[in-house]
């Protein structure tokens, strides 16, 4: 039951049409309809929310205003603050970030026989990977193929992705699942071993593999366990605040900061992998976010300052179904798997207003249109929302399906008295994913020698929109890939000498001359949620 009577009344409208709505197969939109919808309602098209960069390698490009402020912000240190001649840590491969990509990279680098080390500003596993609910794509069924997966991913990303990256994503996908399974990651399977797979928005085959709706958590906790078993050093509560270069401009380590004591430390490395994840906590355009506390775009800043280029930094993913109510979980992710299992999006009149499995950008724009232009949203104290009719799942697949397939969702809403088996839930788009990021080649190399990037911080894999289940896949495939290539490069690289942080002063000067210096300390490291002005 909702605590607000009016919502219970409105939920009855949904219930009254449920039997009629459940078997519906709504028409999918045409390419032109989708184009028009996106241009009119997707947040990426809101001109006033972006700024043009005035300094750095992407000078002239537009990025979200909050990101521009950090990219053109002030380094937290000066070169004089640290002694680069006496490193506190010495390693072959330095991995910045302890999520799915960082952990995968560490395991592969270790496997290759080099010294790897992870630094993370929180704990290993405190990452968006841990929160991925719905699943991971791989074209491993007889009616599917990497070619079909390629078309789905490339088309879903509006034909903007780098073909060689999509190729790697889809052709390495089955191997990634096999690798995880051999590490002991559990997947939902039939008794004969066949994977239980579903659709995601924009997929043309059912290739979403899952571990209930804890898919990312199951993967992340297993990777973390493996990293610890292998004895790979994990320096937690320690953020990277600047990349260190050598005299030839190659990456050679990072300046680290203890998050609690603020002590600065120097890590020297032959190669560096940035695997810092996304940016949801920048709350672009005032959206709530489904992201982890540490998702503050740090890797983009670190890379940008030493000259690594950004690709598609102006395109963000707003997950169509963030929680719209209640306030305690406002913006939290309601997995797309809820729709994969048969729940549909319904407006205030109880009508299904779209096919529930269009791509995420289209679905988000459609929900925004329903709540604005069409005036068919449901008003709460938190804003507008639409219904996601979860009881349809059990009408379609039988009682017990929700508890078995999406227990986290049942628990999340159950804590606030809402039984998703019997009542529909309120949803509205939430800031979910950074489609773009550091531009990489298919060996995960950025334009700066010996500097690699993998996971959400990298761009070009998903074009301008990512499909469900291609992100968990991306962090595994490209995390491993970065580990393999960075390890190989480390083997042929001597211990860097003549380390320098000259880039800081150089970038500061360029900023000053451009007149665009924001003065904001960056990278941001953590969002500022403590109430001020009490």
């Amino acid at each position: 039951m909702y605590k607000i009577d009016r919502l219970n009344e409105l939920a009855k409208v949904v219930a009254a049409k449920r039997a009629e709505n459940t078997p519906l197969e709504p028409r999918r939109m045409t390419a032109d309809e989708k184009d028009t919808l996106l241009r009119s309602f997707h947040p990426d098209y809101k001109e006033g929310e972006f700024s043009i960069l005035a300094a750095g390698v992407n000078k002239g490009d537009k990025v979200p205003t909050q990101l521009a402020e950090l990219l053109q912000g002030k380094s937290r240190i000066s070169a004089e603050d640290v002694d680069l001649s006496a490193p506190d840590y010495d390693t072959d491969v330095l991995i910045i970030g302890g999520g799915g990509a960082g952990a995968s990279a560490a395991i592969e680098a270790d496997e290759a026989g080099v010294k790897a080390m992870i630094v993370t500003k929180l704990r290993i596993g405190d990452a968006n990977t841990m929160m991925a609910e719905g699943g991971i794509q791989a074209a491993d069924k007889p009616n599917d193929s990497p070619l079909i997966h390629y078309i789905d991913a490339f088309g879903g990303g509006h034909f903007a992705a780098k073909p060689e990256l999509v190729k790697k994503l889809v052709t390495k996908a089955p191997e990634a699942i096999q690798w995880l399974n051999k590490l002991g990651v559990e997947f939902d399977k039939e008794p004969d071993g066949t994977m239980v797979t579903t659709h995601g928005g924009g997929t043309s085959r059912k290739r979403m593999h899952a571990a209930k709706d804890y898919s990312g958590a199951e993967i992340m906790r297993t990777l973390r366990d493996e990293v610890i078993n292998r004895g790979i050093p994990v320096i937690d509560f320690t953020a990277a605040v600047e990349i260190i270069l050598d005299k030839n401009g190659k990456a050679a380590g990072a300046v680290l900061m203890n998050m609690e004591t603020k002590e600065l430390l120097v890590a020297r490395a032959k190669t560096v992998i940035i695997a810092t994840g996304g940016a949801g906590r920048l709350h672009y355009q005032g959206f709530p976010t489904s992201n982890h506390y540490g998702a503050t775009a740090d890797g983009l800043i670190l890379g940008y300052r030493v000259g690594a280029k950004l690709l598609y930094a102006d395109t963000l993913q707003y997950h169509p179904t963030g929680t719209g109510y209640p306030e305690q979980i406002f913006g939290a992710l309601v997995t797309e798997k809820v729709r994969s299992l048969g729940a549909k999006l319904v407006n205030i009149d109880g009508d299904v207003f779209m096919h529930p499995l269009e791509t995420r950008d289209v679905t988000a724009a459609s929900i925004i249109r329903e709540c604005t232009e069409r005036g068919k949203g449901i008003e709460t104290n938190l804003g507008k929302a639409v219904w996601l009719d979860t009881p349809m799942i059990e009408l379609k697949h039988g009682e017990g399906t929700i508890e078995k397939r999406i227990p986290a969702m049942l628990r999340m809403f159950g804590k606030y008295g809402i039984d998703i088996r019997k009542e529909p839930i309120l949803v509205y788009p939430t800031l979910h994913y950074q489609n773009g990021g550091l531009d990489i080649t298919d060996d995960c190399a950025t334009g700066v020698e010996n500097l690699y990037a993998a996971g959400e911080v990298a761009g070009g894999i998903h074009g301008r929109n990512r499909l469900m289940g291609n992100s968990l896949l991306d962090v595994i495939v490209f995390g491993r890939n970065a580990g393999i290539y960075a390890a190989a490069k480390a083997k042929e690289t001597d211990t860097p000498s003549a380390l320098t942080l000259d880039h800081i002063a150089k970038f500061n000067k360029e900023l000053e001359e451009s007149g665009a210096a924001s003065g904001t300390p960056s990278p941001m490291l953590l969002p500022h949620y403590a109430r001020k002005n009490k």
Binding site: T30, L122, G125, M130, M131, A139, D140, S145, P146, L147, Y150, I151, F154, G155, F159, P163, E164, V166, T171, P174, E175, I177, Q178, N181, L183, G184, V185, E186, F187, D192, G193, T194, M195, K212, Y214, A217, E218, T222, D225, I228, N229, G231, F237, E260, S290, Y293, Q328, I329, A332, L333, R411, M412, K415, Y416, L526, H528, Y529, A530, R531, K532
Partner: protein
């Protein structure tokens, strides 16, 4: 005026609006969180917390990000708890009861007090999954413990010193790797890819993605979608 509640953060009294979670109440009180805050969505276990309502006996375990504040709540966060994780080579161990005896012998000291289950922030039957682990029933242990976020509140209450989340982690990896059925179609597909049977067509797709985008668009817009 908002409905304000009295909560005691580490014993110190603050007035916070009703409807906040323990985590947002701490931020409302002015805390800049570094530890004890992770995904903020109930998946990572960073914000393990124990609380007691003033005047009541029962001690509760919860996740600060998933729990609404109540009047008279005494809150202590548990941002770190020293769980004991034993290391092993997943490729060398076998899924038999011996491995638990070897790596986590303390589970056989369980006195059956059920404090772990009562404390679980995910409402799991923790003592039951430990019992499964004792008997080497890893599949059942894996299923029963599946929703564990490894926050460690169970272990903080255990008189036998068991690190329940780590025991369950081992059981799940054994189950996932050795006990759950192998996936034939997955192995077949990896083999096909390694043989290179998709290479030629993939190269064509990639070339068209650059030179003939219209054809790729037509392929995408007219592709058959599995029902």
């Amino acid at each position: 005026m908002e409905n304000m509640l009295n909560v005691y953060l580490f014993g110190k009294k603050y007035q916070v609006p009703a409807g906040l979670t323990i985590m947002t109440a701490m931020e409302y009180a002015g805390y800049e969180l570094v530890r004890g805050c992770g995904c903020r969505n109930g998946f990572c276990g960073a914000c393990a917390t124990i609380y007691r309502i003033k005047g009541q006996v029962e001690l509760h375990g919860c996740l600060a990000c998933q729990t609404e504040v109540e009047e008279g709540m005494y809150v202590a966060t548990l941002p770190f708890f020293p769980l004991e994780k034993r290391v092993y080579d997943i490729n060398e161990i076998k899924p038999d009861a011996q491995i638990m005896m070897q790596l986590y012998p303390e589970i056989y000291s369980c006195i059956g007090c059920n404090a772990c289950t009562k404390a679980c922030t995910q409402e799991l039957n923790v003592m039951q999954y430990i019992a499964y682990a004792q008997r080497g029933e890893f599949e059942k242990c894996a299923e029963e413990s599946f929703d564990c976020v490894m926050c460690g509140v169970c272990s903080s209450r255990c008189p036998a010193g068991i690190s329940h989340p780590q025991v369950a982690m081992l059981a799940r990896r054994l189950n996932g790797k050795y006990i759950a059925p192998e996936c034939g179609h997955l192995n077949d597909r990896v083999g096909e890819i390694n043989e290179g049977i998709f290479d030629e067509k993939m190269a064509e797709l990639m070339a068209k993605s650059v030179d003939n985008i219209q054809e790729i668009k037509d392929m995408y817009n007219n592709r058959e979608i599995e029902k």
